[in-house]
Amino acid sequence: MNQKDILGLYDMEAAVIDEILTRGLAYKSELKRGNKVFHALSGKSMVTLFYENSTRTRCSFELAGKFLGAQVVNISVAASSVQKGETLVDTGKTLDAMQNDVMVIRHPASGAARLLAKTVRAHVINAGDGMNEHPSQALLDMLTMREHFGKISGLKVAILGDIYHSRVAKSNLYGLTKLGAQVTMFGPRTLIPAGIEKLGAKICSSREEAVDGADVVMGLRIQLERQKAGNFPSLGEFAKYYGANEEVIKYAKPGALIMHPGPVNRGVELTSALIDGDTSKIEDQVLSGVAVRMSMLALLGKED
């Protein structure tokens, strides 16, 4: 892989995705054995720059960097100069001047990671920008699927819920279709973005149709403010008509995986029976996250 940044999967070649997953799987098995000492980033520094709240993604990146031997600094909005009105470009230049090697950014504005990448010499990893992309989440989802099924090609993945606001759904769509999977989607019409079919998704007219024959059923987190904005009447109605439950899952292949990027609203996107069921990968996804982020960081870092 020879690219400066990882901003999304829309522009990433299938071979690069494959390379990240292969290396990620190797890290994951090492982590499972309790090995947390690696050297791919020793002598390097990394900063996580989070303009949005996040526990798991920030912690996952931090651990990934530390396991690889990097010096890691975390910056969150409340504690930073952003409150003083510094622009993203100026913040980036400042962090660049401190000789940081990698910047991991999460930001509420679509395109923010690209703006930072354009500004700085350091490698930039997009940890989620607005409604654009969240590549590390999609890569960890794909790593989880590949570990279980041995391949991505030929899988059918159903993604349910708030597609419109979901950078996770989009990054998964790009990555999965590049590796030969089929992606079906279903959600309220108010939360299906214009023209998503042209990006490779099959938009279904019911949960049952979306889930029919699926190898993986993925729920997406619904934010309460989406209800307040008038996208659906209530969380109860969302759960009833758009959530996945034991009845809906009968349409999927036997043993179909249940996935969710977290944090999950129990009984809304997925019922507890599915979240805690035998085929749920929701906890396993978390370890995949650390492993795949190690792989992303190591691949960017090795060029230097």
């Binding site: 829309y10 622009t87 993203l88 470009v89 930001h107 504005a109 679509s110 395109g111 923010a112 690209r114 703006l115 920008d129 607005g130 409604m131 654009n132 992309e133 950078r167 989009k170 973005p193 214009a194 023209g195 998503i196 042209k198 990006l199």
Partner: protein, 424 residues
């Protein structure tokens, strides 16, 4: 002065002619005129003479936002673009909502002395959408129209009163059409590229609903209305249908709506962020058809200069607008004439006579007795857009590097050369 040998664009055709200018007016136009010994002669063989261009939708930013543009740099940019008359929008600080600010703009423009500047007054005080601005006073000071540009007056009853009251003073409302509840923070067109980028899009309906409202008000009140920067195929159809049944509506569009689509925002280029947003190919094609069949009456640049600081931020936070005065003519000539077969008289009407007619301005034609406002262009010259070469303070253009046909060489206002292209 004698302008000799230019291909002159008249309303009924293009004819090689000599043009004599005396006392700031065109005094003689004939196939050949002989200069007396002491007459200044501008040899214009190979150049095409257009009536001075008129842009009825420009942001000069002065007073209040001089970091973005001033009346001086804005009018320098105008004459470099071939414009001899421009109308400036009221979203300055303070807002042009009273005779004092109107008087300032006119006086400052006269002092700079490059092109004629006609202020457009706000419809409501401070553009707040609550109470009528001092419309009578602004008219007396020289305002040529009213606009709430940048937004619509959301309250329909107030808009109806504004149109009625303005008509007492012979002023038209120029309507920026946007339903605020539908836009709700959107920064691009809702379509393939809003989905791809994750940038919030607004529907065509956000623009169309307000176009429809203004058409309904104009029809009910039997008053004229002008629709600004139309960008949707569906809005154009609303205007076409209204014209067919006799509603007194005129409309403008901008070069970016017939040259670009929302594909330009694919890589988050903040210079392609404009309001209304760049839309789909279907809309771009409809804008050209609307200009061709007369549904759209004129071309305005919506020149919206910004400082780099206003654009070099997250796309959501970047200012809306394109610096357009210096590319408006060449974009229009390239796309409409070269690529879509518009005649030169048609292009000239869209950029001079029609806006003059809409606002009852003097000028807009090369004719004996008219003010000697004209522009000489080399239509054979192609050039690449270089924002660094703009004289406008606003270097914000999505056309950087684009190859265009047709280059402005001279601009004359009231018989005086106000712009002459520097020799390379």
């Amino acid at each position: 002065m004698l302008i000799r040998g230019a291909d002159v664009v008249f309303s009924d055709g293009v004819r090689k002619s000599d043009i004599r200018i005396e006392g700031g007016l065109f005094t003689q136009i004939a196939p050949t005129l002989d200069p007396p010994e002491n007459e200044e002669v501008l040899e214009a063989a190979g150049l095409t003479a257009f009536p001075g261009l008129i842009d009825m939708h420009v942001h000069l930013r002065d007073p209040g936002f001089e970091k973005k543009e001033t009346i001086e740099t804005g009018t320098m940019s105008a004459v470099k673009g071939g414009f001899t008359q421009i109308c400036c929008m009221p979203n300055t600080r303070p807002v042009i909502d009273n005779k004092v600010v109107v008087t300032y703009v006119k006086a400052r423009a006269r002092e700079v002395g490059l092109c004629k500047v006609h202020p457009i007054g706000a419809i409501t005080e401070g553009q707040k959408g609550e109470a009528l601005a001092a419309i009578g006073g602004m008219k007396a000071a020289g305002a040529v129209a009213l606009s709430e540009d940048g937004k619509s007056v959301q309250n329909s009853a107030l808009m109806a009163k504004a149109m009625l009251y303005a008509s007492d003073f012979g002023l038209k409302c120029l309507c920026h059409c946007e339903d605020a509840s539908l836009v709700d923070g959107a920064v691009v067109h809702e379509g393939d590229y809003s989905t791809l980028t994750g940038l919030k899009g607004s529907l065509r309906a956000a623009e169309d609903i307000m176009i429809a409202r203004e058409l309904c008000l104009a029809e009910s009140l039997e008053l004229p209305v002008h629709i600004c920067h139309v960008s949707t195929y569906s809005g154009i159809q609303l205007i076409r249908e209204a014209k067919a049944r006799g509603v007194k509506v005129t409309a403008e569009t901008c070069p970016h709506y017939f040259t670009l689509t929302d594909a330009a925002i694919r890589d988050f280029d903040p210079n392609a962020k404009v309001n209304p947003p760049l839309r789909a190919e279907r809309d771009r094609v409809a804008v050209i058809a609307g200009l061709k069949d007369g549904t759209l009456d004129c071309i305005a640049s919506d020149h919206a200069p910004h400082h780099a600081d206003d654009k070099n931020v997250e796309f959501n936070d970047a200012a809306f607008g394109i610096s357009g005065l210096e590319t408006s003519f060449a974009l229009s000539y390239t796309v409409l004439v070269c690529e879509n077969g518009f005649s030169l008289p048609k292009l000239s009407a869209l950029m001079s006579a029609n806006p003059a007619g809409i606002l009852s301005l003097t000028g807009g034609e090369i004719a004996v007795g008219a003010p000697a406002d004209l522009m000489l262009a080399d239509l054979n010259e192609s050039w690449r857009v270089d924002p660094a070469a703009f004289v406008s303070k606003g270097k914000n253009t999505p056309f950087a590097g684009k190859k265009l046909q047709g280059r402005v060489k001279y601009t004359l206002s009231d018989g005086e050369i106000k712009y002459r292209e520097a020799r390379a």
